[in-house]
Structures are given as C-alpha cells and as structure tokens.
Amino acid sequence: MEAHKHSSASFTILRPKRLSDNAEPVSRLSHVPITSPGSVIPTEDHSVRARGTLLSCGESGNVLTATRAGVISRVNKLVMVMPLRSRYIPETGDVVVGRVVEIANKRYKMDVNATKHAFLLLTAINLPGGVHRRRNQEDELNMRQYFKEGDLVSAEVQERRKDGSVALHTRSLRYGKLSAGQLVTVQSELVKRAKKHFHELPCGVHTILGNNGFIFLSQTRKGAISLEMRRRIARVANSILALDSEFIAIGPDTIMDVYQTSLANGVEVKDMCTPDVVKSICVGARSMREAA
C-alpha cells in the first residue's frame, strides 16, 4: 500500500495552514534526522538521555524512543529531540510579554503562553518613582494600582523553581506596564533568542519581541499616534502574522523584509492577510534575503 501522494487538496474550505504542501521539501531535506513519537532512536551505549526522549527497557536491553515529533540533535553525549511546535518553555533570562490573569497574595499570576501561569512577585517589581524599600501591608493592599487584571507587562524570567513554576521580575527601567500599542501572538519557536529584544524598526515602530510569542508594537515617540503611524503599526503586525503563518523565523530583519516587499508590491495593508498574498510576499522576501 504505497503512501498516499498528497495531491494539492481538492477541499477548499480547510486549506492546510502551510500553503506549499507539495512533497518537494521531503526530498531536499531527507538527510535531516526527523522522528515522531514512539520511533526508536539509535544510540551508542554511553549516550545520555535528554528532553523529548523516553528510555524503556525492551526485551533486548533498554531502548530509547522519541516522545515528540522533531529533529534529533546530538550534542557530544547528549541525545535529545527538539520539538518543532510546542508551547513556550521558559528559560532564565528570557524577555517575555505577559498578561496579568489574577492577583493572589503578594504576587501577580501572569499568562505567558506557557503550560502554567508565571508569577510576578510583589517584591520583584519596581515601585512607582523607583523608591526602594521593603514591601509592607499597605503595598499589598494597593497592588491593583501597579498592575491590574488584563494589563500587558514586559518582564524577564528570573528563575524556574523545582516544581516547574516560573518567577518573573521587572527590576529594570526597560520593563513595566505596556500601553498604547498592539499585541501580536505568534509561535514561540519562531522568535529566536537574541541579545536585544527591544527594537526600533526603521519605519518608526517600537517592537518588543517576547520569547513566549507575544510581540508588542507601539510608537517610539510619546504622545498621540497619528493616522500614518497607526497604518505603519498595522502593516508591521500583518507582516509578523504573515511570517508566523509561513513559519519563518521572526526577527527585526525578516520583519523589515516582508514590510518592504509588501510596500514594493504596493499591497494595501488591509488585504495583506489573504493567504495567497501572504505567500507571494514571503517568497519575495526570501528571494530578496538570498539576493542580499
């Protein structure tokens, strides 16, 4: 029973998210070690098991099997499977954008697109006016003045505790409450870890690339946002969504590529979302990237 050749799907309503679903990448990248759950991973005896794999003792000694679909990556003794898609896995030092979900005793519960809510302790935020003192009962009472439910906050992952819970902190002037801007949600793997996550795009849009896939766009200058600036922010947002739907790595350079291509092709901001326009823009951006 040969595998079904996946002809371009005749059903139109449920077009798979990835437009180019032809089998071409399979042949080109066949050398990449791809696994899926349950498939056995060949291991030498001294290899050490890491994330994404499962050791079970079969009849012929213990067998290493993968638990996720992804790439097998071997770093000298370490064997692990890097999943291609999963919820955000917090690492210490990551810049994230979180949304306050609940205010518990002396801490804010933040949704950071991860498997569990992260905690922002009252002791880990800057009090207004940058005053430094121990938090007392009165601070606890007016916690809602600092952040309330639904607020967007940019923060940094302080530590991951043993039981899996994550602590954030906003102990620097860069971090704090975000206002007057737009939030775009993408897949967390697409945002590469870099030194700088706060970027001033040439088109005057200030972006915070959260590692957890929450990207916040706002205006660099203070004050009211002009109509032209709103249109620019919308165009940046649409180009980020285009990158996300084409699963292309998101960084200031790729965002600007798509932004310029969409301007060059004279595509209106509002019809940047239709699937085929997105496809053509991304292909254009990639060719420009390879040309440069």
Binding site: G38, L54, L55, S56, C57, G58, E59, V63, T65
Partner: protein
C-alpha cells in the same frame, strides 16, 4: 470527583503483592472472588455478592404497543444505578451520577447483553404491530468494593433468567393477557448467557514495559491499577463482547491470556447461576397456582430471621471490642403489616433489607452502611411501605399501575 484517598505505600504494597502472585486479600492473580447469587421471592429479583461488592437487579416485563418502524420486535433496556450507599465518593456524587467510570460500566453492560442478542427480541413479539413485550432490567449497586462491572453483569443475567412473563393467548386480532395466578407464567426467551470477567491492568506506561493482568480486582487494586479490560463469554466459549476503554496499553500475549481466563471463568459462573436458579424455582412460594391469600409460610420465614438476629446479638465475650449494636428490633405488629403488604408481588427493597439482616457476616453489612443510615433506611422503608399498602388495595398481580407510572416518571 476525588476517589477514595489511597496512600502511596498502600499502592506500592498492592503492586508488590501482585508481583509476588499473592494478592491483597490472599487470592492468586487468576483467582476470582466467590460469587453468591440469591434469587428473591418475586420473579426476576436477583441479588449478587462478590464478597463485599453487592448488586441487586430486578426485571419487569410489560406489554406495550410497539413503535411503527420496529413493529415485530420487543424491546429490552437496562439501567444501572450507583446507589449512594455504594461508597463515599458515590454518596458525594449523588447529584450527578454520571461519573466517567460509571458511564462506561453502563454502556459496557448494555452492549454485552443487548447487542450480543442474548435475549431474542423477535421472540418477545406477541402480535406484530399490536402488542410486544418490553423488558426492563434495573440494577442497583448497593456496596462497591471493586469490580462492580462483573457483579452487575451477573445480576442482570440472573434476573433475566429468573424473570417470568404472564401467559398470553392470541385469538385473531384480539390479545388476552392472563394474570400471573391464572396461568403458569412463562420464562423469557434467553438464548445464551454472556457473563463478564474484568481484569485490572498493572505495569509501567513505557512502550516496552511488561504488564500484568489481575482477575476480579478489589477496590484498592482498582485504585492502584491503571486501566481495566472486560471480556464477556458464554458457557459455549463464544466471545459475546470485549471492552477495553483505554488506560495502560496491553501486550497481545496478555490480551490472549485474559480471553482464555475469561472463558473458563464464564463456565464456572454459569454453573453457579444454574445451581441458584434450580433451588430458587424449587422453593418459590408464588409458583403454586392458588389465589393470593395471606401465605403462612412468609411469616414463618420472618420469625426464623427474628430468632437468628437474637442469636447474633447475644452478649459476646468482652474481648471482641465490637459489640453488635443491638438496635431494638421493630415491634411485632409493624412486622404484621409488612407481611400483608408482601402478598402483593412487587419487588420492594424491604425484603432486601431484612435479608441483609440475617446474612452470616451481618456485622459486615452493618459496618459498611453504618448504624445511623441503617436505622434511617429501616424507618423510611416502614413508613413508605405502610402508606403504599394502606392507600391502594391489592390489585391485579402485575405491578400496580400507580407505582409503574410513578417509576416511569422518575425514570425520564
């Protein structure tokens, strides 16, 4: 809904015991608990006990006009109730009775009995399009000490085999149903007897780990296991249904071990069922074709139960820390009204309550139901049965209409 809290060391202990092939209550892995079946005085009333797991089933048969699309077929429907007395979580969950594990039991029994065609619905037809028999089996799980699936299955089959329907003569288009005491009632057309065996699954979740199967798990084993599989076989060794709802993935080898074990287990169970049916029909008081008078015999039976309770309640040696709480037995004349009420062949739990009283491990039952609830149950039954028997007269033998309608409304 939080199951009974089981500590880690109890769980590990249960699993170690299974590895050493001597289970928590002394049985071997492939050994089931002894099933005891007692078929009640009324037709179709069966009570099954696996040590402490206790289920009661009762069948009612009724002539109804069939639905147009399946005019020539009778209908059989089974409802399984987890009564709040069964276990603590069951009591707490009395509001919504459809907890996950329980729905599975009900669907599973329905597929084993009805879909495996054990009762031939076509033979239940009196006159095509006019009158067909509708068989309804209601099962209550009184006390759940693990594996209530097999107890219910055995209770349903015992009740179906013991049930009788009134005789009927069809002349041309006209159908005449004889009362139960006019003509000898007719048993139901049961073709084969599917009986189930349930196994608890134990083993690590990883792909190549070995796994063990345990026949007829008790409550602690059920809590410590990660999955269960049920096989239904009849005594001819034909497989009538299999249900594994998920949980631990199982090796093909242990799957076959289970099916063989289930086949032999079914043969053993059928033998016990047949024995119970034989002695039930022998001493069945209602089988004599005499008008329904106050029958001296049941009163004697009650007196016998009375004397047994005295014997048990005699002062035990001081060492036994648990004195039998000698709640004062209900006074004699209250018992009189009960016997008169009993003449009407309706299956009221009241008989069940008295029967519990003089079971040999009476403390066992008192213990599980707890002294307060036991008193409450008896008083409640006394009040209800008195009101029923006094208000409506002793009508025809079939279940009085009022109660049937009331049962129907409660059902929907």
């Amino acid at each position: 809904m939080k199951e009974k809290v089981i500590s880690l060391c109890e769980k590990n202990f249960t699993i170690d015991c299974i590895k050493a092939n001597c289970r928590v209550d002394g049985r071997r892995i492939s050994e089931a608990r002894k099933a005891s079946i007692s078929l009640g005085p009324n037709w179709g009333f069966a009570e099954v006990r696996y040590d402490r797991t206790h289920a009661v089933a009762s069948t009612t048969v009724e002539a109804i006009t069939p639905t147009p699309d399946r005019g020539s077929e009778g209908s059989i429907s089974i409802s399984v109730e987890l009564s709040p007395t069964a276990s603590e979580p069951a009591a707490r969950a009395s509001l919504f009775r459809n907890t996950g594990s329980f729905i599975e039991t009900r669907n599973c029994i329905e597929s084993f009995v009805r879909d495996s065609r054990s009762v031939d619905t076509e033979a239940l037809c009196v006159l095509a399009g006019v009158k067909v028999w509708s068989v309804r089996v209601d099962v209550h799980i009184i006390n759940d000490d693990g594996n209530c699936m097999d107890a219910c299955m055995l209770a349903v089959m015992a009740s179906l085999m013991h049930a009788r329907r009134p005789d009927v003569t069809v002349t041309g288009k006209e159908v005449r149903i004889h009362a139960m005491d006019e003509r000898e009632p007719v048993p139901l057309p049961v073709h084969h007897v599917p009986l189930s065996a349930t196994f608890g699954l134990f083993g690590g979740g990883r792909p190549f780990d070995p796994d063990t199967v345990v026949l007829d798990p008790v409550k602690t084993e059920e809590l410590a296991s990660n999955g269960s599989v049920s096989f239904a076989f009849n005594s001819q060794g034909e497989v009538c249904g299999v249900y594994k709802g998920g949980g631990l993935p199982l090796h093909i080898r242990s799957f076959e071990v289970c099916s063989k074990l289930a086949a032999t287990h079914a043969v053993g169970l059928t033998a016990i069922l047949k024995a119970a049916l034989a002695d039930a029909s022998a001493e069945h008081p209602l089988s004599t074709v005499r008008p329904m008078l106050v029958d001296a015999e049941p009163v004697a039976m009650l007196a016998k139960k009375e004397s047994e309770r005295e014997k048990l309640a005699a002062p035990t040696s001081t060492w036994n820390a648990t004195p039998v709480l000698d709640t004062a037995p209900p006074d004699i004349d209250a018992m009189e009204t009960i016997t008169r009420a009993r003449a009407v062949p309706k299956n009221d739990l009241i008989d069940g309550v008295f029967e519990h009283e003089n079971e040999d491990d009476q403390n066992e039952d008192m213990k599980d139901v707890g002294p307060e609830e036991e008193n409450k149950m008896i008083v409640e039954k006394l009040i209800r049965s008195d009101s029923e028997s006094s208000t409506e007269g002793l009508e025809a033998a079939i279940v009085p209409k009022k109660q049937r309608k009331e049962r129907k409304t409660r059902r929907r």
